[in-house]
């Protein structure tokens, strides 16, 4: 069954077109990674699929329904890159995760015992149950990221959409995150995620899509690490913008299907 169907999509912000002609198909049970350098349009692609960026041309279908008429948003769990800007008032980890239940419960009903259990289950899945009463701002970046994944998981979605979940995340969080994602995919869930690099998620990814310059430059099995990336002591850290830029060359396919 088709979960996400994108054909000849063009999208952008204000006057600037970021995606020119993108087609992508994700079927139930797929785990698809969208790769690309910064500014390639990979985040714009998923934000357009979710309706956060308006499309200019082309079509988007979610679970077989045109996106404009799609109403069953509880089937989608979205994990943004970082916590929203609304941190003017403290909020506990449990309160943030509970937001994930609204899509299913609706605006007019109060949370019940089942909702509380769902919050605890989701936090257990990412290994953060002991932090349920702590303010989210006291958590590390990786723990905040896991909180956002728990929020998405709490709503029991069929499709998880994640925007660079591994950016700036500590090793322990990456592992906890990979385990939660593996379990979700193992239960038949569909995953669409934007990644800067495959990292520890490599074994989970069924298909990689490389976006370059607003178009799909490569689609197929995830590229194997090569060169210095393959060395066992190589750390997958790209802390500086200059080094991130190097990613453009790495992901641009030069010959055949080899992306390196």
């Amino acid at each position: 069954m088709s979960v996400v169907e994108v054909s000849h999509l063009a999208a952008g912000y204000d006057g600037r077109e970021v995606l020119h002609d993108v087609s992508l198909s994700v079927t139930a049970g797929d785990v698809v990674a969208i790769l690309g350098a910064n500014g390639s349009g990979k985040s714009t692609l998923i934000r357009t699929i979710l309706g956060l960026v308006p499309s200019r041309r082309g079509e988007i279908h979610l679970f077989g329904t045109p996106q404009q008429r799609f109403r069953r948003w509880e089937r989608i769990g979205y994990v943004p890159q970082r916590l929203g800007a609304g941190s003017g008032v403290p909020a506990t980890v449990g309160e943030v995760v509970a937001s994930g239940l609204l899509a299913r419960r609706g605006v007019f009903r109060f949370p019940g015992a089942a909702d509380k259990a769902a919050v605890r289950d989701a936090l257990t899945a990412v290994g953060l149950l002991d932090r349920i009463g702590d303010p989210v701002t006291t958590l590390s970046g990786g723990q905040q990221q896991r909180t956002l994944i728990a929020r998405a998981l709490a709503g029991r979605p069929d499709l998880l959409v994640l925007d660079e979940p591994n950016a700036g995340v500590d090793a322990a969080s990456q592992e906890a995150f990979a385990a939660a994602l593996t379990r979700f995919a193992g239960d038949g869930g569909t995953v669409l995620l934007v990644l800067h690099e495959l990292g520890p998620l490599r074994p989970l990814i069924g298909r990689a899509v490389v976006v370059h310059d607003g178009r799909i430059a490569y689609e197929g099995t995830p590229p194997e690490p090569a060169g210095h990336h393959a060395e066992p002591d190589h750390e997958h850290l790209h802390p500086h913008a200059e080094q991130l830029k190097a990613g453009i060359c790495e992901w641009a396919p030069t010959e055949g299907t080899k992306a390196y």
Binding site: G88, L102, G155
Partner: protein, 288 residues
């Protein structure tokens, strides 16, 4: 406390306490969104409504509700666009509001200046019975909406994009919040005045969050601080013969200062235990 037997004093106290609950119940969402000053701007716009009411001989509360609601929805539409020019558009709307208000109040016959002061800085002691009915009804409505839709409004103000992807009626909720801001501003203008309305929305929340860890506990504490400051403000100002609106706001600020000092003392007392803080169980469990 002979004063409490006076009906005008009882009405003032009840009205102030209703507003002391309603204002922070709404204000917490504005603070969460980092829009702490929006109430102030809507207060400016409401003044045009007051002037319109005085000029046309209608109850200024009703005209102020309508005009400030229109202003608040306008602000929301500008914010939604997210344009950089939004900041300037807001400034012009706000100053247009206060200038229009001053002009219209001046044009209306009768006691121009004294009624202007009454709306700018509040005069709870002149609350009539019919005023109290309006304040009570609208205040209860604001409080109910803010408490009932708390999960949805929390999700919206915490992460608007996530709320959108959750399929929440984001635009409707935003407009609900805007209209509620306008209603709260209008009923609060009788007690603290249009220039200090925003303080009663924001200061109790700021005071509460010095001591709390979560949203629900912050909201509960903010309502308690708001209602105490508003009630005490009316009583203290009557005893000490000071301006009620200003007294209320200064009491709320005193609560903030006390909470901030308390928080910093608590922080210092906890300091000695250095790194293993992460493995300790939480000291307080605020809610299950």
């Amino acid at each position: 406390m002979d004063l409490l037997t006076q009906p005008f004093m009882q009405r003032a106290l009840i009205a102030a306490m209703i507003i002391g609950l309603a204002a922070p119940a709404l204000g917490i969402y504005l603070v969460q969104r980092r829009l702490s000053l929006i109430g102030d701007g809507i207060g400016h716009v409401a003044l045009t409504g007051v002037g319109l009411g005085l000029l046309t001989g209608n109850d200024p509360v009703y005209t102020a509700v309508v005009v400030s609601a229109l202003g608040a929805v306008g602000v929301e539409l500008i914010r939604e666009r997210g344009r950089t020019s939004g900041d300037l558009a807001l400034a012009m709307l706000f100053y247009g509001g206060i200038a229009g208000g001053v002009l219209l109040v001046g044009l209306s016959d009768g006691s121009g200046n004294s009624s202007l002061m009454q709306y700018l800085f509040g005069s709870p002691l002149t609350t009539s019975e019919s005023d109290l009915v309006v304040i009570g009804g609208l205040g209860a409505a604001v409080l109910t909406v803010m408490l009932f839709f708390r999960p949805a409004l929390f999700a919206l103000c915490n992460d608007e994009e996530y709320a959108k992807v959750s399929g929440l009626p984001v635009r409707t909720l935003n407009i609900l919040l805007a209209v509620t801001t306008a209603v709260t501003v209008t009923i609060a203008m009788r007690t603290v005045g249009l220039l200090l309305v925003s303080a009663l929305m924001v200061v109790p929340v700021a005071a509460a969050q010095q001591l709390t860890r979560g949203f629900v506990s912050t909201m509960t504490a903010a309502l308690a601080i708001g209602v105490s400051a508003a009630g005490a403000g009316v009583l203290v100002s009557a005893e000490a013969n000071t301006a009620p609106g200003a007294t209320t706001v200064l009491l709320a600020l005193a609560a903030f200062a006390a909470a901030a000092i308390g928080a910093s003392i608590r922080h210092r007392l906890r300091r000695p235990a250095p790194q293993p803080v992460a493995s300790e169980p939480p000291d307080v469990v605020l809610h299950g």
